[in-house]
Amino acid sequence: MRDIHVQEVTKAVKEMCISANYHLGKDVYKRLVLSEEREESPIGKEILNNIIKNADIATENEVPMCQDTGLVTLFIEIGQDVHFIGGDLNQAINEGVSQGYQEGYLRKSVVEDPLKRKNTGDNTPAVVHSSIVPGEQVRITVAPKGFGSENMCKLKMLKPSDGQKGVEDFVVEVVAIAGPNPCPPIVVGVGIGGTFEKAALLAKKAMLREVDDKNNNEYYAEMEERLLEKINNLGIGPQGLGGRATALTVKVEKYPTHIAGLPVAVAINCHASRHEERVL
């Protein structure tokens, strides 16, 4: 049994909220540079160039790359031999978010009630997904996400007979409808199978994979490649003003499902694809 003080969680969450909003991941940055080189549209090239410049300025001046510093989705994998001490873990997580958003000069974008819409003032609460795993470590992933892209995510319960084609058509359709709204070039996460909520969670998790990461299942690796090509063939381009770079990458995750179902979720993240991970 390993004791972990919840203050350590607060500190890690706070630092990750700030850092994720200031510093774009190297994998995303590299892919943006590659996309700029390959972009055929002059305006698209100019836009990608500015997006790269923006990431440089944000890192250099330690300011948020985007003004929508998002709602924080947080994944926490807790080793089953860990014992948290010193307080309530959930409170400690939200305390970290609160401190991070205030000390990091990040925008507070969370309303307390979805219909009455009063701002909570410190960007809490986070949406927390926890899971228990073997071991005595704690892995925390902080993913602040803006709602320009979040509002474009979709889920559909397909019929088993819709099969692979039904899935791919749906993914491409969701991206086509989203058009310029999620600030392309985007990162696409697809969750196939499980249940209604599992598919959405898979899609969200898929989005967090490294841009260069290839699916270790060959069938799904090919699907990722094919979907990326189909999406980029839409011509939407950077900011939806035409071009080849509509998506930077497509990631697919799957899970066993029911004999009568084929849930598919499509999560879209913008080029400001922010996430950080830390192991305690």
Binding site: E40, S41, P42, I43, G44, E46, I47, N50, I51, K53, N54, I57, A58, N61, V63, P64, M65, C66, Q67, D68, T69, Y105, L106, R107, K108, S109, N119, G148, N151, G179, P180, N181, C183, N233, L234, G235, I236, G237, Q239, G240, L241, G242, G243, R244, C270, H271, A272
Partner: protein, 185 residues
């Protein structure tokens, strides 16, 4: 469509509006106003009550943005555009009052485009997510109305060479419709 930059200054007169075409890369210098969801609701409610708006709307430009808080020493925090369609139901009454430019990101409703054609206005796209870069063209920021709305308050911004692209011009030419076909396969 060259990469040559057109420069405009405020007030953004109807003649200037007509001179801009979809695809133009434009730098704006002068005074612009911020406003997003909640501020738009209040502006439209104010008009319904027959009261005066908190700024002179004729020949003005509204920027759809809710910036991050400024760090000490900064004029404004990061300040990129927000998605425009949420303002679609609240835009035509402002166009009627003479609003001539809007800066945001993403598609607009048909009724907004029809209003832009009727009253003469341009829809500019700023680069979504390029918030730190855009902030460097903002030289002064003053909250002039609805301070209680926090990031959604109306600010008067002094900008120099604020970078935008004409996405929909006053004739209704719309880059979101015309460009993607060129790169689709």
């Amino acid at each position: 469509m060259g990469n040559e930059i057109k420069r405009i200054s405020t007030p953004f007169t109807k003649d200037a509006v007509k001179s801009l075409k979809a695809g133009d890369i434009v730098n704006i210098t002068g005074t612009i106003y911020t406003g997003r969801d909640a501020a738009h609701q209040r502006l439209v409610d104010t008009l319904k009550e027959g009261k005066a708006l908190p700024f002179a709307i004729k020949d003005s430009i509204i920027y759809y943005v809710g910036p991050t808080p400024a760090k000490p020493g900064q004029v404004i925090g990061s300040a990129g555009p927000t998605t425009s369609y949420r303002m679609d139901d609240l835009t035509v009454p402002l166009l009627e009052q003479g609003l001539s430019g809007m800066i945001g990101k993403g598609a607009r409703a048909e009724k907004v485009i029809a209003g832009m054609k009727e009253y003469g206005a341009v829809y500019f796209g700023a680069i979504g997510g390029a918030a730190a870069l855009i902030a460097s063209s903002i030289k002064k920021s003053t909250v002039i109305a609805y301070e209680d709305l926090g990031p959604e308050a109306i600010r008067e911004l002094e900008v120099v060479d604020f970078p935008v692209i004409v996405v929909i011009d006053s004739e209704g030419n719309n880059m979101y419709d015309t460009e993607k076909i060129k790169y689709a396969r």
